[in-house]
């Protein structure tokens, strides 16, 4: 703990941190206020999907992406990193404070989200799959690390923000649409009638057979929890890699 740096971090980022906290409290309040989720399926779904997503984008775009470019653009890195803390230590401590703050917000918002998520939806996609608290926390960590790394790479605020937005959405969409269904090898059935009831088809082979279907690949729905943990692990690994990249980029340019 470095008190001076903690104070500086707070002063530089309080606008975003207060906005994030206010948003977290607002969404949590809404979720707590709704007692009967079945009668309000539409609004609940809007809040449960929109709440964590807005927090994630706020963290990636407005907290992490400008973090390093601001120092470079304003020339303040010369002062920040040549005094009693080195650049890499400055970055480590700052990332530590900010990341723990936003992860706490994310835990709060998504834990309530878990309790309130509506049961009527597709088990392998929004909002059921992604509403799971650890998955949401991993998304926030990933968005933060992506913003930080792109900021270290481009050293320009607006460019880093734009790239973070595009990068985050593309990776999320790609994982959800292409990778997720193959986390574990799918099981195979001859056609849709033979497929067990509590399962989700992930691929259909057309050919000779009833209704022109030669075979169905499916994932049993009881695999959802393990898939959610796999996705959590995947995004946490990506986040760790990006944090190391940012740290390495900053250290390389350290003012010695």
């Amino acid at each position: 703990m470095n008190l001076a740096l903690a104070q500086l971090t707070w002063r530089q980022h309080r606008a975003v941190l207060i906005t994030g906290l206010a948003w977290t409290l607002l969404v949590s309040g809404c979720l707590l206020a709704i007692s009967d989720t079945s009668s309000l399926a539409g609004p609940v779904e809007t809040v449960t999907i929109g709440g964590p997503t807005v927090l994630t984008l706020l963290v990636g775009l407005f907290l992490a992406a400008p973090l390093l470019p601001r120092e470079y653009e304003q020339g303040t890195y010369v002062f920040a990193w040549s005094q009693d803390v080195t650049a890499s230590r400055w970055l480590r401590l700052k990332v530590g404070y900010l990341l723990s703050a936003v992860l706490l917000m994310s835990v709060l918002i998504s834990a309530l989200h878990d309790l309130r998520a509506s049961p009527v939806s597709h088990p392998f996609s929004m909002p059921m799959f992604e509403g799971f608290a650890p998955v949401q926390v991993a998304y926030v960590a990933f968005a933060f690390a992506l913003g930080l790394a792109l900021g270290a790479l481009t050293r320009r605020t607006l460019l880093a923000m734009g790239l973070t937005l595009v990068g985050f959405l593309v990776v999320r969409a790609f994982v959800a649409a292409v990778c997720r269904r193959f986390y574990l090898p799918p099981l195979h059935a001859a056609n849709l009638e033979v497929m067990p009831r509590d399962s989700t088809a992930v691929g259909i082979q057309f050919g000779a057979g009833p209704h022109g279907i030669a075979g169905v690949d499916y994932q049993p729905n009881d695999r959802v929890p393990s898939f959610q943990w796999i996705e959590t692990g995947l995004f946490l690994t990506l986040a760790a890699g990006l944090l190391v990249l940012a740290w390495w980029l900053v250290r390389r340019r350290e003012v010695r």
């Binding site: 079945s38 539409g42 407005f62 605020t157 607006l158 923000m161 734009g162 937005l165």
Partner: protein
Amino acid sequence: MLWLTWRQHRVAVIGTALGFLALSIYLLNCSGQVGEVVDSCAQHDCQAGPGFALTELLATLRSVLWVIAPGLAALIGVFWGAPLVAREFEQRTHQFAWTQDRSATRWLGAKTAWLGGAAVLLTGLTGLAAQPLLHRLDQVDAGGSGLHPAPTAWAQMLVALAVFGFALGVAAGALVRRTLPAMAITAVGFLGAYAATMRLRLSWLPPERHLFSPATAAPDLAVLPRGSEVVETGYLDAAGTPKRLTEVCFYSAAPEDCLPQHGIPHSYVDYQPPDRVLLVELVGAGVLLVLAAGLFALAWYLVRRSVQVG
């Protein structure tokens, strides 16, 4: 001035243009796919019509037309509009930019004209690229099946949204004079305006109502005049009070039996008839443009005042 505008904003302009280019290519490609299905359904008898064969594509198109395209328009406001004035204040370059051979208001006028023109051009071209698809979807929607995933005036709405977002960004930047807060305000404001537009765009003029008795959970929209736009569907109890399906029979496997048991004799569909749809939607887009003009005027006033004071 064009050169300066291009130098300062080229990364944002190129990035957004690439997004709109990708969207246009996708929409043209979809038009081909929809066309194939419509044509083959005209030759061979499709079991449940082309709309059924295209269920998955129509769901994707709905999110592309309603979420991704307006999202790109929002980027124009956030990344072109918000930094336009704010960045000059933040980097103190407004003192140079506005005291040379050009007055501050002429500087602002030229920049907003070039960038606003580029925004209209980009969204307009995307709207043109969407026309074949929208025309094809009209054919899929034969008989007002309610499958049409886009409003009639989709292209005009997209252009109006982009202009509105850009004006909002410029005004927010002139007001708070700091880039990041201006960007955040623009994003939130755009989202609010878009949500309000979507909610009010069809219902500001009282819609017509078609009653179904007995109540049905799956209203046959083919009874509406072809080309109508559905505003809302709902249920009425015996006293005529509107009810939602989720309040009474949401989890019921057979809502047709459940509804009369709960005293719901009627269901309704509110719709705008075809001869009104285009007018109603164009007025919605027009309101956005009027708001945009107001925001441009606000930005102009703020910049002029800042020069006079200091």
